[in-house]
Subunit: 149 residues, 2 copies
């Protein structure tokens, strides 16, 4: 089970000291989500069940060959983004800066151990709206090219 | 982890009293195996890692819409077969009678709790060859249309 909240961003913090990864991902299916992702040199197949705050999630290893084989089968846009990992209290903020068709979208996600913890989370001042309940911000929906901004 | 042995068949037992399911399955990828399957009115996404006797396996729920959406993305043949469930000692023999392009193939699979149990299994007299180690009999390879018979 993945428990996370998603936010839009008011202003960017200084990112020069944070770790980041290059992500490329695309969707074979939206409901349930079947996603392929390249994360630097790692390849992953992800299945996500229903849900907004909490969702069943399985991450299974792929390799470069299978990623390349599956990519042409994907629907809609291939999403590219840089994900910064920003420590905040006991959490890690994942800040996604989208590229290509999805510029100027920037979003933050925070993952939690429990729903109680998720509800209790107080976001930093540079976060804007909580869009956890807004399906338009799911990457699987963003890949359809209908952007909420 | 799925631990199973596969066999070809010498002669068919009388099947009139056994339960059966209608299976339709196809492959989005072969290594790792990413399979979609319809099993009567149930839809499943299966991921299988490497291995012959023992393989990592994940079965995740799909629905009719996602199955229909993913089917055109599959490689090669769509495999249709009738699977009979035949009780044998403490096991269930899954006897697959293939249809369409894969006629006259008939195969049996038996699943085990451990590798020791798998090795100790004494097949019934109507089984023919043990093809567990022969990748050509993997359904993912059969779907490529190159049949070992």
């Amino acid at each position: 089970m993945e428990i996370e909240r998603k936010f839009t961003i008011k202003e960017l913090p200084d990112l020069s000291n944070y770790e980041y990864k290059k992500l490329t991902q695309a969707y074979l299916n939206t409901d349930p989500v079947i996603r392929i992702r390249r994360e630097d040199e790692k390849y992953i197949l992800t299945y996500k069940g229903k849900g907004l705050l909490a969702r069943e999630e399985h991450n299974l290893p792929l390799n470069a060959e299978s990623f390349e084989h599956l990519l042409p089968k994907a629907d809609g846009l291939v999403i590219s983004k840089t994900r910064y990992l920003i420590p905040y209290e006991k959490y890690t903020i994942e800040l996604d800066i989208f590229e290509g068709d999805l510029v100027p979208l920037i979003m933050a996600e925070v993952e939690f151990e429990s729903e109680d913890e998720a509800h209790a989370f107080v976001p930093p001042s540079w976060f804007d709206k909580d869009v956890t309940q807004d399906k338009r911000y799911h990457n699987s929906n963003l890949s359809k090219g209908i952007t909420p901004f």
